[in-house]
């Protein structure tokens, strides 16, 4: 082993020892259980991280986004599936993202619902979309979230929101 390599090795050892002593070792970040944490608590955690910088490249990579699409419509069944949606996004070009699709058959609601609830866009005849950036997170919670009616518009909202954060 050359003296140069010995120096490198010693430096490496110093870094490892310092890391274990000063950071509490290789412990996991304080990630919350998103599903069981109250919505208010999630909101507080995201607000706390509002001043953190976001790297612009995290906003520009389509692979960092993921959407949930909920169909509330008569006759759609109750299956859950995954698909890849490709949409054109300004400044990004074609973005292909994974989408979780949840179907809720509202046929049973037809008999009791008001007419307005069954027309296109009514609460029993519409789509709801939620998109997140899975890489811009704090304690495991996405700081970039958007909701809307279509995958393309909701994804664009999420990307815009991410870009605005990265410019702060």
């Amino acid at each position: 082993m050359t003296p140069k390599r010995i120096v490198y090795f010693l430096c490496f050892l110093v870094v490892i020892i310092a890391f274990n002593n000063c950071s509490g070792g290789f412990t996991a970040i304080d990630v919350v259980d998103i599903a069981s944490t109250s919505s208010q608590c999630r909101e507080k955690i995201v607000q706390k991280a509002a001043s953190l910088a976001v790297a612009p490249e995290l906003c520009e990579n389509p692979i960092n986004y993921q959407c949930d699409l909920r169909h509330f419509r008569p006759g759609v069944g109750s299956e859950t599936s995954q698909a890849v949606y490709c949409v054109n996004v300004a400044g990004m070009g074609e973005a292909c993202i994974p989408v979780n699709i949840f179907n809720y058959d509202t046929s049973a609601q037809q008999k009791d619902a008001e007419a307005a609830q069954m027309v296109e866009g009514g609460s029993y005849n519409r789509d709801e979309v939620s998109c997140v950036n899975t890489q811009v997170t704090t304690r495991g919670i996405s700081m970039i979230q958007a909701e809307g009616n279509t995958v393309s518009s909701t994804l664009e909202t999420a990307i815009d929101s991410c870009r605005q954060r990265s410019r702060q």
Binding site: V32, I34, A35, T37, S38, S39, Q40, C41, R42, K44, I45, Q66, D68, R70, F72, T80, N100, F102, Y104, T106, A108, Q109, D112, A113, E114, Q117, S123, Y124, E128, S130, V132, T134, S142, Q145, E147
Partner: protein
């Protein structure tokens, strides 16, 4: 017993016939804000306040709600003393109704704060966890005024509570 029957009848009389994915049901104690079902924008969908229910501070009231489309997740109940701000979590109820006939009917008791307030709000959030990493919400609000009055209706004891309550806001730091 008489008051229980009376309150049940009143709840039926005041119950709104419109349906939502899930929302609070109107009653003498619960003056719901608007009829728009499936509100996706918090805290109350931007809806104007309604004439509030006048309730004694510290009362325990029974809240009724229904779900017409099942979503895994839970119902969170919050209270704001003024201006739809600074909501405090009162109670969380897990949604254990999967597989039972729709619409799902729920009720629970809530103990309100002991302080008086003129423009207070009870908020229910349905947290849907189909995707556990990206929960989404529906919102429903009711307007209240907490003040001592001799002619306020007595808070109703709840006969049954089929849901499972969980501790309020655990480990939020």
């Amino acid at each position: 017993m008489k008051s229980v029957i009376m309150m049940s009848l009143l709840a039926l009389i005041f119950a709104d016939t419109a349906h939502a994915h899930s929302r609070l049901k109107a009653s003498e104690m619960i003056k719901i804000r608007g009829n728009d079902p499936g509100i996706k924008i918090g805290p109350c969908g931007g809806l104007a306040r309604v004439t509030p229910a006048v309730i004694n501070p510290g009362s325990t009231i029974t809240v009724y709600w229904e779900e017409t489309i099942y979503h895994p997740g839970r119902f969170e109940f919050y209270f704001s003393e003024a201006g739809d701000q600074n909501f405090v979590l009162l109670k969380t109820i897990q949604n254990n109704s999967q597989g039972t006939p729709l619409p799902h009917q729920f009720n629970t008791t809530l103990t309100l704060p002991t302080k008086t307030c003129d423009n207070c709000t009870l908020q229910m959030i349905q947290v849907m966890t189909e995707n556990p990493n990206n929960p989404t919400n529906y919102y429903s609000c009711a307007d209240m005024q907490l003040k001592s009055a001799t002619n306020n209706p007595d808070p109703t004891p709840t006969p049954t509570d089929p849901t499972t309550p969980t501790p309020a806001d655990p480990d939020c730091h």
